[in-house]
Amino acid sequence: MTLSIVGDIGKGTHSLSVDFSIEPGEVVGIVGRNGAGKTTLIETIAGIVPMVTGSVAWNGTDWDNAVRKMWVSPEERRCAVVFQDLRLFPHMTAIQNVAFGLRARGVSKVEARHLAMQKLRVVGAEHLADRRASVLSGGEAQRVALARAIATDPAVLLLDEPLSAIDAASKESLREVVATVLQQFTGIALLVSHDPTDVATLASRTITLGAR
């Protein structure tokens, strides 16, 4: 169930060599200066951006292989992303956002709502269930995005700056939520952050991008 990514990632003329593998249960912190390619790495693993050279493989299967022209589309990779800009569906309520992935994978409406409510409880946002995503505050939206990502029971959880753009007061409680989620999570987790405290408290190991 190892995730390995070897080769060059990037968009346009910028590219960056990476070579690492991650085991289930690990929480790997990804650090690096601005523009080092942290978000691109997340998007490459999730299947939004293709690799320039090399491959992404999970559990021995290529998700993306530039040489063998292998490509597994994002909806078939078992990745879930908390995007830096969250990307909650603004016209849906919080619980509809969380249930979206379950519905897409064929879970019944009632069951999806039930499971989504459970996940909202995990992140302490059950009281926001029927609130429209477009009216949530930064911290609230962050929790809902986290619940949405774990709802589909992904093999790989990708968190892009889950604690940025939050005021200092709510940051502490949110960090606890992220920590709880990561403790309960049995798959592979990647956590991108520019904040050394986040990485130190949440990640079990650190990879620095663009350092070589």
């Binding site: 999730a46 299947g47 939004i48 909806e75 990307r87 569906f89 603004p90 979206f100 897409a104 589909t152």
Partner: protein, 266 residues
């Protein structure tokens, strides 16, 4: 609003603007002045007018829905594809907008007429004959109205955040599901505006439908055709029907402006 403030600072441009406004306003107001208001209700409810009004409503509503059904997927494809081929397709598909309506009618006859390129086969194989039927009215309306819908809707689709689509894909949603659950709901007011625009164009359509479908009272005669015919023998009645259609059009325009405003502030 900004441009208006600027032009008003120059008396010459301001004067021209006033002339332009009067030129548009004068005919509209004149219709209202000349309408024999006493006959308003009796004219509108007369058999001939009622019949064609019903046909107009029927055909234009079907045409608007059909234009949306066909035009929305095409607009989506145009909004998300950018190559030589898609540019050619866009140009071709909005061409009916600048085509003289009569020419559009002739073109429809050439394609779907009894001896038309497609029509001949339709008749030989299934005995279907389209010209001079209500279906022909609808086809003519779709043909001229769909470009308006495509232009309006494609512009809206271009503003849809692709990041939301990426997010939906990572959650396991197929492109079709994303289209219906993420894209369409997030631009719903604008889609309605496009639909209304297509409906208004269909409702007022005259040249293409009279050429392709003829003006048979009770079968293919729509309200604009009716006005045209009535005007030849009773100008006062024609004024009544005209003022009615004018109110419908202006009403639609006013309603749409509000739609667009709410769509933008969302």
């Amino acid at each position: 609003m900004k441009t208006r403030r600027r032009t008003s600072s120059s008396p010459v441009l301001g004067a021209i603007a006033v002339v332009a406004t009067l030129f548009v306003v004068a005919p509209l107001v004149s219709v209202v002045i000349r309408v024999p208001w006493g006959d308003f209700w009796s004219t509108l409810t007369s058999n001939a007018v009622r019949q064609s009004l019903f046909i107009s409503l029927q055909t234009s509503l079907v045409a608007a829905v059909l234009a949306a059904f066909l035009g929305i997927p095409l607009s989506w494809w145009l909004a998300r594809t950018s190559n030589k081929f898609s540019r050619v397709i866009r140009t071709v598909c909005i061409a009916p907008m600048v085509l003289p309506p009569v020419v559009a009618g002739i073109a429809l006859l050439a394609a779907f007429g009894r001896r038309g390129v497609v029509g001949e086969q339709l008749f030989n194989w299934w005995g279907i004959s389209l010209p001079f039927t209500k279906t022909a009215v609808v086809l003519a309306q779709v043909f001229v109205a769909m470009p308006f819908l495509i232009l309006a809707v494609e512009a809206v689709f271009r503003q849809v955040d692709e990041g939301l689509e990426d997010a939906a894909r990572t959650l396991g949603a197929s492109p079709l599901r994303i289209f219906f659950t993420v894209v369409v709901p997030s631009v719903c007011p604008a889609l309605v505006a496009g639909l209304v625009l297509a409906w208004a164009r269909s409702f007022g359509e005259f040249g293409a439908s009279i050429t392709f479908a003829g003006s048979f009272p009770g079968r293919t005669q729509t309200l604009p055709m009716s006005v045209y015919e009535i005007a030849t023998y009773d100008y006062r009645q024609a004024l009544v029907v005209s003022v009615f259609m004018m109110f419908v059009s202006v009403g639609v325009l006013a309603a749409m402006r509000d739609r667009w405003a709410t769509g933008a502030t969302r």
